[in-house]
């Protein structure tokens, strides 16, 4: 168990408000981005963002500090989204994505490269983002967790509550789908 995780676990047990303030600041970007990708809607992601932190406060005693905090945080967010999804429509996570509302994600390019490279990579990024929006949510989710959040496969299995082998197969299929969507978009 890392010192950081231990400190967080102790603080959450005590519902330490300063620790929670710091965690909200620290993880705001990653959590919000994850929620935007799994819900496909920024307003909804904002609601879930706030509700996730309320849950962190209420269920903080359940975090034992044995795993990374972000894994636990993403798992809480994911369960909230799934619960909401089930209450709305008892189908898969995929139905969360409303294709009409999903595409206008406000993405900005953070890379620090030359203006020409920025234009070229922005074009690629836009392609990638719109292709991500076209692939099934279960694949988009694993791609985001692995390649944006850089979680290990075992950590992803914890977040998603699925076996490691399923995570891997979803990743392979996700990559394949993304490649297909990119080719389809470019055509």
């Amino acid at each position: 168990m890392s010192d950081e995780a231990k400190t967080i676990a102790r603080g959450l047990q005590k519902r330490d408000p300063d620790l929670l303030d710091r965690l909200i600041e620290q993880y705001q970007y990653r959590l919000f981005r994850y929620l935007v990708y799994i819900t496909g809607n920024k307003e909804r992601a904002e609601d879930f963002f706030q509700e996730t932190w309320i849950r962190v406060l209420e269920r903080g005693h359940q975090y034992d500090g044995k795993s990374k905090f972000e894994g636990w945080l993403f798992a809480i967010a994911r369960h909230l989204v799934i619960d909401w999804q089930r209450s709305k429509n008892p189908q898969s996570l995929d139905t969360l994505t409303d294709p009409e509302q999903e595409h206008p994600l406000q993405l900005v390019n953070e890379s620090e490269s030359s203006p020409l490279q920025q234009v070229l990579s922005q074009e690629t990024e836009e392609n990638v983002q719109s292709s991500l929006g076209r692939i099934p949510a279960i694949y988009r989710e694993v791609l985001v967790l692995r390649f944006q959040e850089e979680l290990q496969i075992e950590e992803m299995a914890g977040v998603l509550s699925i076996p490691v082998s399923t995570v891997k197969s979803r990743l392979y299929r996700g990559l394949e789908s993304l490649r297909g969507a990119l080719q389809g978009g470019a055509a």
């Binding site: 303030d21 919000f32 609601d47 706030q50 309320i54 392609n127 990638v128 944006q148 990559l175 394949e176």
Partner: protein, 162 residues
Amino acid sequence: MNADLHARAEQLIAQERVEGISRAEREWLSAHMHNCARCAELARQTDQTLRSMRTAAISLPSGLASRTQFRVRLRAQELREREPKRRALWLACGVSWMFGVTSAPYVWHLFEWFGQRVGLPKLVWELGFGLWWTIPALFAAAVLLMESSRKGEQADWISQGS
């Protein structure tokens, strides 16, 4: 070139990025891509796609963190205020349970005596005794249910806001 070789190369390109490959596999892949422009291009495109995913940014709504911090602090205060009430409820339940256990034989005799005196059927005064025994637990369960339903109503903002 054999189609199986391309298929193997494609699989290794994905595997390398998902979970890593062995040194021997990397050497084989590298040699293959040296002679195969199509697979080399696939590897380049895959890397570019993943790089784009990593560098793509989403703009945060303004004040998201401060609004969330405010809500979390309010909820924390609410929980702190509720804590003594909850503790008192559990204490009352514990005391009531202990009292119920220790007094059960006496109360049983009391119910029996009263039942016989009034001429009640045995089943009726036994049922009365059962109710007397379960009332504190039912009361506690009712209070806890009321609390959780109130919490459920508070969480409804999510579905209303969507």
